[in-house]
Symmetry: none
Subunit: 196 residues, 4 copies
């Protein structure tokens, strides 16, 4: 049933009614409730399961690849397998507001795994030194959104790679952004305000 719930959530968004889920699982509404006393708990169970899968993936990558490849491989895999799960986007950065213990535990393990991967990759010189774990989290979320936003799977993946490449140590690249002269910065601010 958890399987079905995951599928239905992924396909129809986190706002499907429990009865719809029950229907697609081929059971009565009360049955879902027997296993997950609350809709929120069901969502959390789904998320926790997914996060657990990611933690396993992190471990697998750690064991089977060089530090750099491990980090990049894992991030790409996490993004690819999580794309389209709006819950997940909402969950990852905060890890808060979710009462279920199992979920916060899973989120913690996820962050620890991410931290290990990042540290190793940085020590191996495969990743810029100024990146932090929560940057990776945000990047993952962004990657997921980006990935889901592209109609074309292959191109989406290519873009995600481009995105991740931003983590690699820079190659004699000037800072395109810091150099904006004062007046242009002002324009940005002005523009920002002008957009309703």
């Amino acid at each position: 049933m958890l399987r079905t719930a995951m599928r239905v959530f992924a396909e129809e968004g986190p706002e499907v009614s429990l009865s719809r889920i029950a229907q697609r699982a081929g059971v009565g509404a009360g049955t879902v409730y027997r296993h997950f006393p609350t809709k929120e708990i069901l969502i959390e169970a789904v998320l926790a399961k997914h996060v657990e899968g990611l933690v396993s993936a992190a471990d697998r990558w750690t064991a089977q690849a060089t530090p750099g490849d491990a980090l990049f491989g894992f991030l790409l895999e996490a993004i690819e397998t999580s794309a389209g799960r709006r819950h997940f986007c909402d969950l990852l950065p905060t890890g808060q507001g979710w009462p279920l213990a199992v979920l916060t535990a899973a989120a913690r393990r996820f962050n620890e795994a991410l931290e290990r991967l990042l540290r190793d990759a940085q020590e191996a010189g495969a990743v810029r030194a100024d990146i932090r774990t929560d940057d990776l989290t945000a990047l993952t979320v962004g990657g997921m959104a980006l990935r889901s936003a592209h109609r074309d799977r292959a191109r989406g993946t290519r873009l995600v790679r481009l995105l991740l490449d931003g983590l690699r140590p820079p190659c004699r690249r000037r800072d395109y952004w810091g150099g904006h002269p004062r007046h242009r910065r002002h324009e940005i601010l002005h523009a920002s305000r002008s957009v309703p």
Copy 2:
């Protein structure tokens, strides 16, 4: 009233009830319905307004900066001003499922502006040649998600810049991704499947 609706949506999420909006606008519920016969139509109007703002911004950047700066400046501004508007994320890539003509029109104008900016930047050599307009759309969505995912505004913006830098022409960088030997690719797929 549209103003109020935009503010309320931004502040309280896209799930506020219409009565709440009416309340905050200081009018009766019926009055909102006089202007926007459906909640969906109201949402679309809000989105369309926002998109119009972005189109104006695109025009402004086109007029006031070099092609490269214009594209990057515009994308950054679009991301910064749109961050947190979940509707927007859902809207941009597909442009579908939204019945209102005014919105598809706005979306089209937005895409045209984006296309112009991209073409100019590419002709100026400021952006990789293999980028397409829908890549930019996806990138924008990803940037918005990334941006919202970071608790720390400043770091969030820095990451968005990293993300956008991926568009710039590569500096003699080997392709980190294509080189994966066959068996590792297989592992990725395998892993992907194993994540629930």
Copy 3:
């Protein structure tokens, strides 16, 4: 199991779910249903058991005390042991709406016992002659309510005794109520109607 049901009903009110009862009885929900095909039937069984206890008590008092003491002792005991059982209050007066035969039988036996006690007490001159069996029933219900309504157990019991004393033959007491002059009676009616 009937024991457990009685305890649970007394402790948690008549609205406990059957699963709760099954749980506290240490059996499966289905097992409860094997013995009591319906929740209502279970409730009736509980009530019948309680009524049976009261009938035994009536017999005991009949055998062991003078007619007057027997009636008063029994009524007090019935009230004290029944206080707080809302079902019981609902049941006693009507005896209706309860399909189960065993219950109406028990109620009949209870009324017969009460009738015997009353007749004997009246013949002994210990109780007013104008009291009828259904008065006693009503009085019992009132006593139970009164008894449950008092926070203070001891005072509650004292009040119940006051209540029961009303049954004893009057001591040259004028009728406080009959003497109301006509216009005041009208006021009472008027007032009654005016209370919503």
Copy 4:
């Protein structure tokens, strides 16, 4: 609508569904909700209204009758007009567990009125000196139950009067209860325990 709710509650008990009430009021379910955001709030409103009526009645009796008549008249009236309202029985003694301020306020005013009536009646010598306000409350509840338990209105009222007469100063009556010899008391206890 409050009227209808009061009637329906009185007729069908406090457990009627809101939809039933709406149905009998001839309105949609949502309409009830508009006026009473919660079922509990509706119940409280009904109760408060009734209690207010009783407070007015208390004032009327105070103004129009001698202290003794006022107390007895009021109690009789309160019992007669409240009979059958199970809510009311549950409310009166505790006054707690009801979140709505308006209700606790009404309950407080009711108790104050009762206290005044009692004090005056006691000073006039029309009521035993050892009666306290909470005795009256309990007595009222008991009277209501008693009153509802009798099929025959007239006899019910007569019994209630008997009940209330217990409040009047005793006429050289021995204490029928205190004199029980020890062994009989033991029997009562034994009996109590023996009733399941």
